[in-house]
Every structure is written in C-alpha cells, then in structure tokens.
C-alpha cells in the first residue's frame, strides 16, 4: 500500500492485459491451439525439444534487445554467428585446444561488435546500414574460409555444448539461464544498463551533457557480438558441424522475438523478460508449424507476417511508435 502513497498507480488486471506485449497472446494462443490440434505438442519430449531449439535464438535475442533498446539494430548477428561457428570448428578440427578456439570465436564476435559500435556510436552512422555492411563482410569471410562447404569431423567433446547434462538440465538451458542472469544484472543493476535505457531515451541530450554515452553504446554492440559467439557453440554442437550460412535469417527471428516481447524501437522502452517470452513464442510458432507439416518456405513467410502484424497491432494499441 505504501506504493500508492508515493504515487505509483495500481493497475487493474485489465490494464495489464491491454499493455501486455503481443508475445504473451501469441504464446498463449499457439499453446492452446497446438495442444488441441496436434497430439505431439504437449509432451515432455517435444517441449524439451522446443526449449533446446530456442536456446540459440534466445541468447542472440538477449543481445539484440539491448541493441534495440538503444534505438539501434544489428542485422549482422546472423552471419557473425555463422562465422564464429566456422572459426571455432576449423580451429578444433585442425588440432587447436578447445579454449583457444572458443577464445578466437568470442574475439571475432567482439571485433564485429566493436566495428559496428564504433561506426554507429562515434560516427553517428545509421545502424541498419552499418550492420548490413558488416553482414556482407562476415558472410564473405565465413564462406571464403570454408570454400562454401560445411566443416565436419568435429571431435566428440564439442557436442557437450548441446548434449551435455549438468545437474539434471541440458547445457543449452544452463547457457540460456546464465546469459539471461548476466544480461539481467548488467541491464538493471549497472551503469551500463542505465546508459542502455538512457541512450534510447535521449542519446542527443546525453552526448551534449558530456557523458560517455558513445562509449556505452559501443559496448552494447560488443556485448551482442559476444553473446552471438556463445550461441554459435550451441548451434555448432547441435548440428555436429559448422555451416558458413547457418546464421542467416537468425537475426530476423531474433528481431521478431524482441519486438514480440514488447521492446519498442523508440524511447528505450522494453526489457529482456519480454524477449524470453518473445523467443519462446517464435520457437513455439516454428515448432507448431513443423508439427503441422508446414514447409520451411511457408514458415519463413508466416514469421515475416507475424512480426509485421505484431508491430502493427502494438502500434495501433499505442504501445510502440
């Protein structure tokens, strides 16, 4: 009750429902429809499968959330994921120790983040153009390194990133939980997080006031790149091989997850809890389309449609824009 005294309004449930991001509705609707329509959906095996499939997407989407909170976008995360996976796999296959391979991949993720961040934060270039440029560069490097082929013949221990079990839970779930916890602390308990929200709110004012807004904006892109590198290990382990173009399109799912999760492209509104729901919604949507026998081609179109519909509806409800 002390809350009401300091002026924080108490929302009734109806207000909460009216303001809940589209992902909540989509997830609820999809779950009910799929449970009724396909017997295979509401089984432990399938739900575990969904959670495992969604791990890579969630980790990338967490980084994307911070980028979008700063009113930016990172289209290069998909190809960067492919490149990190390829580099890690190539190094492991040619006999480097695993920690070196992991270090190299993380460095590459961070390097792409630094280039993106420097051009966007310090030179004020539009984020979608800069990251489209690095999109092409990452894609080229990955295909040139492998001559367009997949990297196979990985040693067995790499599969631990996907198949390993720790304290009863699969490693990808642990990785997602860890990424969420770290991002949560960074976003809500540190200066970095407060800057992330503030940059989205009014970057211009921050810069004019002499704060280090540009530096923190650069760090946001670096963090997204590093998370993407981590996600690439799970992806590589799951497929037991690395493909140079495997990540292309993943950035789109990540953007969809972030937007469905209620993070707005303006004014630094949103957060990572919504993104988890959003990633689950995208994962359940894809899983459901799979179970219903919808071809991957249609799935691509459906996800494109869902994201536009979600943003459009949120915009009409006055949540975004």
């Amino acid at each position: 009750m002390s809350d009401t005294k300091v002026g924080r309004p108490q929302y009734p449930v109806s207000t909460w429902l009216a303001q809940a991001p589209g992902a909540v509705y989509l997830l609820a609707l999809m779950s009910i429809v799929l449970t009724v329509a396909t017997p295979g959906f509401f089984t432990v095996a399938n739900l575990t499968n969904v959670a495992l499939q969604v791990a890579v997407l969630t980790i990338v989407a967490l980084g994307m959330t911070l980028v979008i909170l700063t009113e930016g976008i990172d289209l290069s995360l998909g190809p960067v994921l492919g490149l990190c996976g390829v580099v890690m796999a190539l190094m492991v296959v040619s006999g480097w120790p695993l920690f070196m391979a992991i270090g190299a991949a993380v460095l590459i993720g961070a390097a792409f983040g630094t280039v993106n961040g420097a051009l966007i934060a310090y030179l004020d270039l539009p984020a979608f153009i800069v990251t489209l440029g690095t999109f092409g560069i990452a894609q080229s490097i990955a295909t040139v390194l492998t001559e367009g082929n997949s990297v196979t013949g990985l040693p067995d221990y790499v599969r631990w990133f996907n198949d390993g079990v720790f304290l009863g839970l699969p490693v990808p779930i642990w990785a997602t939980a860890l990424a969420f916890a770290v991002t949560y602390i960074l976003l809500y308990r540190t200066k970095f997080g407060r800057y992330t929200f503030a940059i989205g709110n009014n970057r211009h004012a921050l810069i004019l006031s002499g704060s280090r807004a540009r530096y923190y904006q650069l760090l946001v892109y670096v963090y997204a790149g590093v998370l993407t590198a981590l996600a690439s290990f799970i992806m590589t382990a799951r497929l037991n091989s690395a493909h140079p173009t495997i990540g292309i399109g993943l950035e789109f799912d990540a953007i969809a997850a972030v937007i469905l999760g209620g993070t707005s492209f303006e004014k630094g509104r949103g957060g990572i809890i919504g993104t988890i729901v959003g990633a689950l919604a995208v994962g359940v949507l894809r899983n459901g389309l799979n179970l219903m026998g919808v071809s991957t081609e249609w799935q691509v179109a459906v996800v494109g449609f869902v994201i536009i519909a979600a943003v459009g509806l949120d915009s009409l409800r006055g949540l975004n824009a």
Binding site: I73, L119, L123, D124, L125, P126, F128, I129, V130, L132, G133, T134, F135, G136, I137, Q139, S140, I141, T143, V144, E147, G148, G249, F252, I255, I259, F265, S295, E297, W298, Q299, V300, A301, V302, V303, G304, F305, I307, I308, V311, G312, S315, L316, N320, A321
Partner: protein
C-alpha cells in the same frame, strides 16, 4: 525565410562550386574519380575489359541494378529504407518467368508488376499509417516475399524465355542495348519527377525535415506510400529486365540483390538520413558497382568475396561522406 537566406549566404558566394556545397562537391568528385580510376585500372590489368562486347555487358548489368536502386533512392530520400527490394525482385522474376514460359507473356508481365506494386504499397501503408519503422516493415516484407517465392517455385529453375520478350534484356536499337535505353528513359522520368514536380520536391522536404513537412500541410503519408509503391514497382521492372537478359529465373535471384541495391544508392551519394541526393547519383553508383563486379569477374575473384566487397563498399562510402561532411561543417562553424 530569414533562416534560408542565412544558410544560403553561408555557402552562397564563396564556398559553392558549380552550385554544390563543399560536402556535396566531395561526393560528386570522389564518385567520378572512382569511376575513371576503375575504368583505367581495369583496362590496364585486363586486356578483355576495353572490348565493345564487355562494355555492353557492363552496361547491361548496370541497367537493372539502376532500375532497382532508383526506386530505393526515392525511399532513402524520404529518410526511410526498403530492405525488401531484392526479395520483391526475386518474387516478381519467378512469377513473370513462370507465366511467360507457360504461354501467357502479357499476363506474366502485368502480374509481376502488380506483385511488385502491391508489396511496395503494403510497405508504404505500414510505414506511413501504421507508423512501423521502415527497416522493420520492409525486413518483414523481405521474408514474406522470399517465402512466397520459394512456395511458388518449389525449388525449380525456369529457363528458356521466348525471344520477343528477351528483347528488353538483350536487344539493340542501333548500337545501343535496349536495357541502357530503358535506364536512360527511367533516369530522365525520375529526375524530372524529383526536381520539377511538387511531388518530387515534397519527397526531399519529407527527408530533410519530416516535422516541417507535416506542419506545412503536405500530404506526407500519401507521398510516403507513393515512394514505397514506386520502389516495389521498380524492383519488379528490374526483375523483367534481368530474366530477359539471363534467360532464367530461380528463387536465389532475389537473395543476391539487396546488398548491390543498397551499395548502389550509397555509392550514388544519396544521404541515408534523407533529403539529399538523387537518381543521377544512383545511376553513377550503379555504373561503378557494375564495373567493380565485372572487374572481379574478369580478374577471376571468387564469388564468395562478392558479399564482402559489397559490404565494404557500403561501409566505405557512408564512412567517407560522413567524415568529410563533419570536417567541413566543423570548419564552417
């Protein structure tokens, strides 16, 4: 009015050259230099470059590239972006090729143009009326068009288009290839539209200062719909010229077009913040890009590098313009 005269006198007498402010002068000079340097370098390094058939080849590649990126230029001039041009081009190409080879050429052409126009219209409505950021709306459209193209083609490749249709890609009028004539015609129409009509000036005004444009009572939303629809229509127009040249269509066609389209606009010196630039620049940009791709081909550079080179060109050209623009504005201030 007073503000306008003030800015005019800042640049006015002393700093303007050929009516261009210093930062625009840098754009024009750097692009023309790039064009000349590329031509000279390629003639020196590859004996095959300076042959009539290769020059025709370069121009034939530049034409559809220009058609696609000219529509995109209008969108960029309003301060938006259309990431769906490549995918819409791919979808239109698949639809046109499929109907034309089944014996319905007129219907195929009309259907392709209609599909491009409607994708663009949807983009425009989403951006102008639903107020979705343009890169999100058109990125969603990218995947919708890609998905539809896959569904439509079912993994097939269509080839063997009829000779009368192929004229728009491979034909000649006198010594000039038909695609080049189409390119020149489109350039003239769009240039006049942008610089001699109220609609065209409005497009610059929206990009230059959207708030002022709205407050001045301009139909901003309708003009936005117009530019996105034009972009979609031009992409499908480019699709017709491409399939007429290559004599084939498959789904991967559209996936390779987005980076070149954006690169041609950036190379053309149109500002990505809107309000500055034009289609003449984009024509030069398309020529430079066609030369680069032709040169890579002649020098035997693997196609794996293409995306990276295009990405690098995009970064380099926006970076150079931004750095030079900043340095000049700092000196002025």
């Amino acid at each position: 009015m007073r503000a306008e005269t003030a800015t005019a006198s800042v640049y006015g007498d002393r700093r303007e050259v050929f009516g261009l402010s210093p930062d625009r002068l840098f754009v024009v000079v750097s692009r023309l230099t790039a064009l000349v340097v590329l031509c000279v370098a390629l003639s020196v390094f590859t004996p095959y470059f300076l042959t009539w058939s290769n020059i025709i080849n370069v121009l034939r590649h530049a034409a559809p590239l220009f058609l696609m990126s000219a529509g995109l230029t209008l969108v960029v001039l309003t301060g938006g972006i259309d990431l769906s041009v490549g995918a819409v081009l791919g979808l239109a190409a698949c639809i046109a090729a499929s109907f034309i080879t089944s014996g319905y050429p007129v219907f195929g052409i009309v259907a392709a143009l209609a599909v491009g126009l409607s994708c663009g219209l949807v983009n425009g409505l989403l951006v102008a009326y639903a107020r979705i950021p343009s890169f999100i709306a058109t990125y969603g459209m990218l995947w919708i068009a890609n998905g539809l193209a896959y569904v439509f083609m079912k993994g097939e490749v269509i080839y063997g288009l009829p000779a009368p249709f192929r004229v728009i890609g491979t034909g000649f009028v006198g010594p000039l290839p038909v695609p080049v004539l189409i390119m020149i015609g489109t350039l003239l129409v769009l240039h006049v539209l942008l610089h001699r009509t109220r609609l065209g000036r409005g497009i610059y005004a929206i990009g230059g200062n959207p708030v002022a444009a709205r407050l001045s009572g301009m139909p901003v939303q309708r003009r936005l719909v117009f530019v996105y629809a034009t972009s979609g229509l031009m992409a499908s127009f480019a699709a017709l010229v491409i399939i007429a040249r290559t004599n084939a269509a498959d789904v991967s066609l559209g996936e390779e077009q987005l980076l070149p389209a954006i690169a041609a606009v950036c190379l053309g010196g149109t500002s990505l913040f809107g309000g500055v630039g034009g289609v003449a620049g984009t024509a030069v940009g398309s020529l430079i890009l066609a030369l680069v791709l032709n040169g890579m081909n002649l020098l035997g550079v693997k196609t794996f590098w293409q995306a990276g080179v295009l990405g690098g060109i995009i970064l380099l050209s926006v970076l150079a313009d931004q750095l030079v623009g900043r340095r000049i504005s700092r000196r002025t201030a």
